[in-house]
Symmetry: C2
Subunit: 355 residues, 2 copies
């Protein structure tokens, strides 16, 4: 990540989309590591940061449970833990690429980071409180709040009970071997691998078990796919990460010298694992399989590469499409939706070859 150019450090930084609230993307084209450093993990906020320090550090589980419980930080962190490596991707990632264009933060490809998360499985916590028969959803309340549509609200999201009991859903207190940072959810953050980032509620304060469907503004207004420009019909909720990829090298519109170049990048999906990545250097006429660098693992991106000899005086359109084990692949055309979620169109760059 830090390049050294004759003794001078050259480093890519977070890329600001807005500062109040803070929304910055990861310089993903310039990262080589499997784990995104904490300082370069993308920041996506709906409201100003909660007041720090948040004390005392309690997590409450209440609602439709047999034993409502309040856990102190020291209790949570001494429970049986699990560490998972998982990527988080904002559902607005690549929003800037929608055509026609949509409103909202114009994320390019870097609302995407991968981290190590250590925490207690949510299912373990729920086994202590026990869930009543008839429970349908679990609502997660973050300590971040502000005015939305004229109302003062907290950021809140729900999961269906079934997903909440998935063994990989954890209440994390560590990120990359350190306590969560204030900007990424200290003291507790829900981590929901395989779902877009909005599900991984930061500054988690209260877990509420309910017998009905939750309908907060971040559940039924935002984070909903609206396929029509003006009407709300045919809408459905944003959940799992769609199969996706980025080309890290070359860069779009880069001028390359003739000869052999490595084409490299990342591919990922929410359900199942990546099974193959295909590259076309002739604008989609023919496709070849790229090499996958690490064994494909659930919830993690896989690095891929292929080398290609580019000929002189030539423009080349490079396309990449990833396939996953559930039979999904990147579409030729993104699924357009009014709020701009889940863009996963076949990745494309154009390069020029010059001497």
């Amino acid at each position: 990540m830090n390049h050294h150019d004759r003794g001078l450090k050259t480093k890519a930084h977070l890329i600001a989309k807005s500062l109040l609230p803070e929304n910055q993307e990861t310089p993903i084209h310039f990262l080589e590591e499997k784990i995104t450093p904490r300082s370069l993990t993308f920041r996506r906020n709906h409201f100003p940061y909660p007041k720090f320090p948040i004390q005392p550090f309690f997590l409450t589980i209440t609602g439709s449970v047999k034993n409502p419980l309040i856990f102190h930080y020291s209790q949570i962190t001494s429970m049986p833990s699990q560490t998972i490596t998982a990527l988080l991707e904002c559902s607005g990632n690549k929003r800037a690429h929608f055509e026609p264009k949509v409103f909202g933060d114009q994320w390019k490809e870097g609302a995407l980071s991968q981290g190590n998360w250590k925490g207690v499985p949510l299912s373990y916590l729920l086994s202590l409180t026990e869930v009543n028969t008839g429970a349908r959803e679990i609502v997660f309340l973050g300590d971040d709040s502000g005015v939305k549509d004229g109302q003062h609200v907290h950021f809140q999201r729900s999961l269906p009970l079934e997903k909440a009991l998935d063994q990989h859903v954890i209440v994390a207190w560590e990120h990359n071997q350190k306590p969560l940072s204030p900007k990424h959810g200290f003291p507790f953050r829900l981590i929901v691998p395989g779902w877009y980032g909005m599900a991984s509620v930061k500054w988690l304060k209260t877990i509420h078990v309910i017998n009905h469907s939750f309908s907060g503004p971040f559940q039924t207004d935002d984070y909903v796919y609206y396929p029509h420009k003006s009407e709300d019909k045919d809408s459905f909720p944003v959940t799992t990460n769609r199969v996706n990829s980025i080309i890290q090298h070359p860069l779009d519109r880069q001028i390359l010298k003739p000869g052999k170049h490595e084409i490299t990048g990342l591919a990922w999906t929410g359900e199942g694992v990546i099974t193959s990545v295909e590259i076309s250097v002739d604008n989609g006429v023919t496709w070849k399989a790229a090499s996958l660098h690490n064994p494909t693992q659930k919830y993690q991106w896989v690095k891929w590469s292929i080398s290609h000899v580019f000929e002189k005086n030539h423009e080349s359109t490079v396309k990449v499409r990833a396939f996953d084990s559930t039979g999904q692949s990147q579409p030729d055309q993104a699924f357009w939706n009014r709020k701009g979620y889940g863009h996963n169109q076949v990745s494309q760059i154009k390069v020029q070859i010059e001497n």
Copy 2:
């Protein structure tokens, strides 16, 4: 520039376009200051950085002069000095906005920074060496070098004698009250206010007076406007900054609450001064004059603003055009050229008004 969000610092950083060589743009939408901090001044390099430290620190003036001279750093820095506030803009600034798209680093609006530069007027140095009759151009050689078109070359640019003798052209050794940083040209950098940044040669080592026209690759191949896709005819050199502007607030595709908002930004030009800035909030049908915040000064940007009441449930296209004292204004359509220089189309954003 540093916002504080409940005790947490939120800060915009340089935005990487490439790291080897280092090309990073200023987060210009998020800067308020008149003077861009050194750490956020855009970095545009053609080659890896020169080896540091560059010692001994000499500047040679030779060629068609009566008295060829070699100056030591301490001599230069004890000469009569001049301090100027001037912006530097890369001629590739806004390249990403050309349609049809062009190749090269995809700069958005931030290949633009403003600094305080202290140095000795070039005309003073040339008065010491004296220039021979018949001298036509002055060639400036930087210490940065590498392979271009199969040849090992230094970055070199020339100025016509008349421009070189302009009292505001200086050999700078200070940037924002400190010695030049290694990344921005230490020990010496030519500063040519009013011309695009390629003229302000970094790591300046040799000044060569010639009786003919200089034809290095950065003079007659790059930094040339080629109006046609495949042919070189009608080409002409890149020189002065075209009249230009950016909208800093709101951001493109931002969702705003109904009510009064400040529309703010910067405007600048290479020759003359900015005389007015006009805003349209109805996609160019009607225009109003914006307020100019500081007296317009040559070689500096002017901050402008206008407030506007945005109505609910509405999309609005905001356009901005600047006018200068030489009669130039931003065109409705950028002057397309193959290498993507001098983009100065009327600035435009689109916002959505939601409750």
